[in-house]
């Protein structure tokens, strides 16, 4: 039995997966696949846009107080009406130069420094659509920050030390420009290794509201969400990630869904050698209220991935997804597959 088990892969990618072994579920109506992964539960970069369900084509990211003022003033244009396609993200700490903030401070154990430099706000608006007719505006606001920053890896520290020496040598060179250009590879390596090791905690929150016919008095909140991600990364290529997400949403009488959704997840990832990765993850979802029955479902799975080249990898995955948990006589599903091209990393979610 052949099946395709990747999600939202770009057109250039091709994934073929073969369900193998005695675990395959056969002869049943395929249940709806919920492909939520641990990555999906991570705090979003822009909580406001996530809660609005939009991916704005352009996001204003002002880096000076003047640019921020101009952006906010544009919100009040058009005779006082809210613009319906507005997206803005701002990190207040970086609106001005920070001469006392050293590179090492990115890995500072000081709580205040970590929160201040990572705190960012997002705000977005989008047309409120009812039966394809625009009947007002939806507005979303959000914030995110790091609560614990981890520490610099030994690899990063080593690259940084060498780079500082090379930059010093280039500063004294006769042709600084040429010397600096020769450091691009080192600078890229440094940026690629900036991810901290140790204990890192991210948090995000956001809310959205609908304004019927753009009347402020008719505004009603629509969604509220909180994301929390504690993680620990060891120097030896082992990652442990825990995620928690709470979503509360207003569900209209003609909509289907739970009003409260709590998702908890964890993933353990180990890369024993560069092309080989082993991971295991588990997710739990609790839904209550709203217009559907309460749900209490779990999913777990494992993945072994071998990357033969930059765009070719072989994987073997096994597990049980949310939908399979509801299906009678369902059991573990295992899949052996090959991915060629530019496809996204395969997820544990499996199609029987």
């Amino acid at each position: 039995m052949w099946c395709c088990c990747h999600r939202a892969a770009p057109a250039l990618a091709a994934t073929l997966a073969l369900a193998v072994g005695p675990f395959c579920v056969q002869g049943q109506t395929a249940p709806k696949i919920d492909a939520t992964t641990v990555d999906d539960l991570r705090p979003p970069l822009s909580p406001a846009f996530v809660l609005l369900g939009i991916e704005p084509a352009s996001v204003q990211q002002p880096e000076t107080p003047r640019a921020l003022s101009s952006a906010l003033l544009s919100l009040a244009s058009d005779e006082g009406a809210l613009p319906r396609n507005f997206a803005l993200e701002v990190a207040p700490y970086w609106l001005q130069s920070r001469p006392r903030f050293r590179f090492e401070d990115f890995y500072s154990p000081q709580f205040r420094t970590t929160v201040a430099r990572s705190l960012s706000f997002s705000i977005g608006t989008s047309p409120r659509l009812v039966s394809n007719d625009t009947v007002g505006t939806s507005v979303g606001v959000g914030a995110r920050a790091l609560l614990a920053a981890g520490r610099a890896s030994s690899t990063l520290t080593s690259i940084k030390d060498r780079l500082q020496t090379r930059l010093g040598q280039c500063a004294a060179a006769a042709d600084v420009e040429v010397c600096y250009d020769s450091l691009h590879a080192m600078l890229d390596t440094l940026k690629a290794n900036q991810r901290p090791v140790g204990f890192v905690v991210q948090m995000a929150t956001g809310a959205s509201a609908d304004f019927e016919n753009d009347v402020a008095q008719r505004g009603r909140w629509r969604r509220f969400g909180v994301w929390l991600t504690p993680s620990y990364r060891w120097e030896g290529h082992v990652d442990a990630i825990f995620v928690a997400r709470y979503l509360r949403q207003r569900v209209a009488a003609d909509e289907v869904g739970n009003a409260n959704l709590v998702d908890l997840g964890a993933r353990l990832l180990w890369r024993p050698a560069n092309p080989l990765a082993l991971s295991a993850e588990a997710l739990s979802r609790l839904g209550t209220g709203g217009t559907t029955d309460a749900q209490d479902t779990r999913r777990y799975g494992g993945l072994v991935e071998y990357r033969a080249t930059s765009d070719l990898y072989v994987f073997y995955s096994f597990g049980r997804d949310f939908a399979a948990a509801d299906a009678p006589r369902s059991n573990l599903i295992s899949t052996l597959g090959i991915n060629v091209g530019l496809g996204q990393r395969p997820v544990v979610a499996l199609k029987p």
Binding site: P99, R100, G168, A171, V176
Partner: protein
């Protein structure tokens, strides 16, 4: 692309040893090289409490500090270098700032420190 930032400063020395610290700000990364009277001081890279010399021996000499800063912080286009000299009467650190036009650009800060005796000089 590398842009330039040039600065001339005066530092009033005392009787004790003069030391220099160069802080690379804005979460960027950089390295420095020091030169005085045609001779190199220290080794290229981080300058942290680098001994320049005894105050009286430095009078009327010029220290050339060159610092190359790379813009690696995605959160800002600002770069900055703060100079802290000790050994003379208490003086405020001096900060030079410059924004880069494009992500990944560099800035070369060339700063000359002229050392003067305490009996007749402008402070940094």
């Amino acid at each position: 692309m590398v842009t330039e930032n040039n600065l001339e400063l005066t530092y009033v020395v005392g009787d004790g040893p003069v030391k220099l610290t160069i802080i690379i700000g804005d979460g960027q990364i950089g390295g420095s090289a020091l030169k005085m009277d045609g001779g190199v001081i220290g080794s290229p890279g981080v300058v942290e409490k680098q001994l320049i010399g005894r105050g009286p021996d430095l009078v009327n000499k010029v220290l050339e500090a060159k610092t190359l800063v790379a813009d690696i912080n995605d959160a800002t286009d600002w770069t900055s270098v703060t100079y802290e000299l000790t050994g003379g009467p208490p003086q405020q650190p001096v900060t030079a700032k410059q924004r880069v036009e494009n992500e990944g650009d560099g800035v070369i800060y060339r700063t000359n420190f002229r050392f003067v005796a305490s009996d007749g000089a402008n402070k940094a």
